[in-house]
């Protein structure tokens, strides 16, 4: 069992009377990309926040590298190597690539009581990191606002990796992106996984998830419908499960009904 990098065992989370998550179980190995699929309100956000240490689960346990762990704060989760990239990316468009990359964790130099921000070192690291992703940062002091959505996403992911993430949690990394930009981000995610990171990719877009995922967990109304390996499930089956296939069928019937009445 300990070969799993991270395990979520029977996690439940309640907000008052609302059952946000019930008995969700997920297991991830190094180098694995698990896609967490679900429609709006399925409990994705709650699950991310539980992973990131914002919420404490009411039931169940989190096991990291074989050790049972409790996150008391987002910082705890970060220290344990859970790097969460939220949808808003926590990037400031007006600030430079370097200043964003090191925001809140600036490298320092100089005398003990007169430490200054080592901007040269920061510039060098930021340019190097962006270069590895294949993003042409001619000048790391250029503002993040000048970058494309995909580039920003990659910058946020790259930052999480640089600061020691072992498990990357990506919240809808492709939702606001065009096809080209999305494929750029997904390529980078695959690359990160191939270097030994475990990736949890949260999305409602099966077309983005299916090509990159090794396994798929589908959430519906706070419950896991199970985890499936890629070879065991097709894209269509996933889509059906995620949207609540019955609901779509029902909708089709209702639409037909309406058409008949109108005619």
């Amino acid at each position: 069992m300990s070969e799993n990098l991270i395990e979520f065992n029977n996690i439940s989370k309640f907000f008052g009377k609302v059952i946000a998550l019930k008995d969700v179980t997920m297991k991830l190995k190094k180098g694995e990309i698990m896609c967490l699929l679900g429609d709006n309100g399925a409990g994705k956000s709650t699950l991310i926040k539980t992973l990131a240490g914002v919420h404490k689960p009411d039931e169940g346990e989190i096991v990291i590298e074989g050790k049972k762990t409790v996150f008391d704060s987002p910082k705890d989760a970060l220290d344990m190597g859970i790097g969460t990239v939220y949808q808003d990316l926590a990037l400031v468009p007006l600030m430079s690539v370097t200043r964003n990359f090191f925001m809140g964790r600036e490298p320092l130099k100089g005398l003990p009581f007169l430490k200054t921000f080592d901007i040269e070192k920061a510039n060098q690291i930021a340019a190097e990191r962006m270069g590895q992703i294949g993003i042409d940062v001619r000048d790391p002091s250029q503002a993040v606002g000048t970058m494309s959505g995909g580039e920003r996403q990659c910058l946020a992911i790259s930052r999480a990796i640089y600061f020691g993430a072992k498990v990357l949690v990506l919240d809808e990394p492709t939702s606001a992106l065009g096809v080209h930009q999305a494929s750029m981000v997904l390529k980078y995610v695959v690359k990160a996984a191939s270097q030994g990171l475990a990736v949890i990719l949260i999305t409602h877009n099966v077309h983005h998830a299916y090509p990159v995922g090794n396994s798929f967990t589908v959430l519906n109304r706070g419950k896991s419908l199970g985890t499936f390996n890629k070879k065991d499930i097709s894209r269509e089956e996933l889509l059906g499960m995620m949207a609540g296939g019955e609901e779509l069928d029902k909708l089709e019937v209702e639409l037909e009904e309406m058409n008949r009445i109108n005619n």
């Binding site: 987002p74 910082k75 190597g81 939220y86 808003d88 990316l89 926590a90 990037l91 400031v92 468009p93 007006l94 600030m95 200043r99 090191f102 925001m103 809140g104 964790r105 600036e106 320092l108 430490k115 200054t116 921000f117 901007i119 340019a127 190097e128 990191r129 270069g131 590895q132 042409d136 001619r138 000048d139 002091s141 250029q142 503002a143 606002g145 000048t146 970058m147 494309s148 990796i161 640089y162 600061f163 020691g164 993430a165 072992k166 990160a192 270097q195 030994g196 990171l197």
Partner: protein, 375 residues
């Protein structure tokens, strides 16, 4: 850095340094937020050089005059700029100037405190006011515009009420005699480089009084404070971790919080900064005039914000520079003094200032868009 991060970074891409060098010095310069203010200041100097070049405006005495006015405004404009970069406003700066003035004068004149203790007392009150402004904005989440507008009225009213209650008047004179031999007051009341001006006078390079002493006696303390404040603020913004936190707090509060920036503490410290700057302004003025006036500093908060905006600060935060604010203040000071040397009726002064401000802001806006938005 974790092992994995290292392994990913091991594949170094070559040619990075060559690309870095491609960015020309000129382009970097064009991308700075203070460009508009520096250009504006140059234009203002050219303008007055042409229309008032032979009037004595640019004599030693005239120059120190407009530098003094600019410097006083600059001290509060720089603090206002830093707060604006941090995403907040302080409309209580002007009232704080009046309040700090009587915090010095009443204890010194009516309660018999030594002047230096009164000055320290005023700074302590400034820290309290700034902290109160800051904690109120951070804890309530209300716009700082509203919170500090309330403080504008409260402080000005309290200044007037307390002064009249204790002294029966709205002015507290009689401070000048206390300055001599005071261990602190010289920092706010002494002209520096007097020897230089005496020497220049003896060489007949600058204008003299009838008794042979130079008309301009030395660099006023405001100018020294102004230069020090500009350098200090620029160093903080560009070279320290705290500076990066200021930009982050103003640029995106939630994002900054998510990556561990203590946004609340940053903002509170910046509010303390504006109140302290207002107190420096007040101390210099009170010691120079020898009296405190309850109306001192009226509307200064708007001039400070205007100078910061001319200097390239964005009203919504996250962008700007201290050097820009310094040049913004220089434009204001130069125009307000320079207009006396021209044939233009001084009634037109504010029209000129307003137009200047509009041009600067439109220009700055264009620069910012060019630099920070995707093409």
């Amino acid at each position: 850095m974790s092992e994995k991060a290292k392994s990913i970074s091991s594949k170094k891409t070559s040619g990075q340094d060559e690309r870095l060098k491609e960015v020309s010095k000129l382009r970097l310069l064009l991308n700075r937020p203070e460009l508009g203010a520096v250009g504006g200041a140059i234009l203002v100097f050219i303008f007055f050089g042409i229309v008032a070049g032979d009037t004595g405006m640019f004599s030693a005495y005239g120059t120190l005059n407009f530098l003094d006015v600019s410097a006083n405004l600059g001290i509060i404009a720089i603090a206002a700029a830093m707060l604006m970069i941090g995403g907040e406003f302080d409309l209580s700066i002007g009232s704080m100037i009046g309040f700090a003035g009587i915090c010095i004068a009443i204890p010194a004149i009516y309660w018999g405190w030594p002047l230096w203790i009164s000055i320290i007392f005023a700074f302590a009150m400034a820290v309290l006011v700034g902290y109160f402004n800051g904690i109120l904005v951070v804890k309530t989440g209300l716009p700082s515009f509203i919170v500090t507008l309330a403080m504008l009225f409260i402080l000005r009213g309290a200044t007037l009420a307390i002064t009249r209650l204790i002294t029966g008047r709205t002015q507290v004179p009689g401070l000048r005699v206390l300055i001599e031999n005071d261990p602190i007051a010289w920092m706010f009341a002494t002209d520096t480089f007097k020897w230089l001006f005496t020497w220049l006078g003896s060489m007949n390079l600058i204008a003299l009084r009838t008794d042979g002493t130079p008309l301009a006696t030395g660099i006023p303390p405001s100018v020294i404070w102004f230069i020090a404040a500009t350098l200090f603020a620029t160093w903080i913004l560009m070279k320290t971790r705290y500076g990066n936190w200021i930009f982050a707090s103003g640029g995106d509060k939630n994002g900054a919080t998510n990556v561990g920036v203590p946004v609340g503490r940053v903002k509170i410290s910046l509010f303390i900064g504006t109140a302290v700057a207002a107190t420096i302004f007040a101390t210099i003025q009170v010691l120079d005039a020898g009296s405190a006036d309850t109306m001192r500093g009226n509307l200064k908060e708007l001039e400070a914000i205007a100078a910061a905006v001319v200097g390239g600060c964005l009203l919504t935060g996250g962008y700007g520079s201290a050097i820009g604010a310094a040049f913004g203040a220089l434009i204001f000071g130069t125009v307000s003094m320079g207009i006396f040397y021209t044939d233009v009726d001084t009634d037109w002064f504010k029209v000129f200032l307003g137009a200047m401000m509009l041009i600067a802001v439109v220009f700055n806006n264009y620069i910012r868009k060019r630099v920070t938005e995707s093409k």
